[in-house]
Amino acid sequence: MGLSNEQLERYSRHIILSQVGGKGQQKILNGKVLIIGTGGLGAPAAMYLAAAGVGTIGLVDYDTVDLSNLQRQIIHQTQDVGKAKIISGQETIAAMNPDVTVHTYDEMVAAANIKDIINDQDYDFIIDGTDNFPAKFLINDACVLLQKPFSHAGIIRFEGQTMTYVPGQGPCYRCVFKEPPPKDAVPTCRQAGVLGVMGGVIGTLQATEALKYILGVGELLTGYLLTYNALTMNFRKVKLPHQKDCAICGEHPTITELTDYEQPTCNLKNKKG
């Protein structure tokens, strides 16, 4: 299937790149990316991936848009307050690019559903845009078990970090951070605050990794943790060795199935149906 005249024009700045071209743009259009959490990280990631023409985008979120989200979650607008985030996200993407099909999952990822969500469209790449460590470890473990590449990221205050896991090509999140910190031990954005643009910087880096993976170009952040400090404007790539004794991706894994860690206190609010 070739590109239509309209697509040739819409994606002309991609197609002119020697690393993309018409073939690469077709790969992007055939690409399937799952974005878990449509908040500070997931919102900009979803928007850039939609604009780029990623043909299938999955959005996972159970939350509704709150006024305090709008300072950074740019996929949602003022009139969306109170609306389900996945619906608001889907509407924004639909208005941006008709080439994109959005699949929505109105739930919080858990051991019981995450494999089904990832397998639903056999997603090529997963973006972790969540804000809690049980979910981050669950996404890591599910991606390792299903052998799916994913981008981890976190932001707080004026700082951010991201790394990319590709099966067999480097460490996973658990190689670096063995297990989730105790509940409420590490502050969240709600507790500590975050400069709105941090999600834009780091979430856009996650989208960049997804596109590079789909295109098969450049070097991914596999084996590196990229850290960014907005106050000093330092970007640093910290080399990460793979851990042979990692509990999930090591030579003798002790984690062979998914389990739910204790959820943070504030997750007690009801899922919106």
């Binding site: 908040g39 500070g40 939350d63 985030k85 804000d131 460590f133 970090q161 640093r236 910290v238």
Partner: protein, 71 residues
Amino acid sequence: MKVTVNGQTLELEKPVNIEELLVLAKAEQPEYVTVQKNDEFIKREDFAITTVADGDNIEFLYFMGGGAAWD
């Protein structure tokens, strides 16, 4: 002696172990920091017995949440 901690040079008067360095370098919530010395992870139980020598490159890696407000 000089060591590098997260890219910044730190002047030390005497050799220290990782546990002491976490305090000296004012690591936030040291009980949850992942530590690397010269590109290798140091196990938490080895913090007290791992000394830092002149020229060592130390990285403190922090848990970072953020993203969707599932907090």
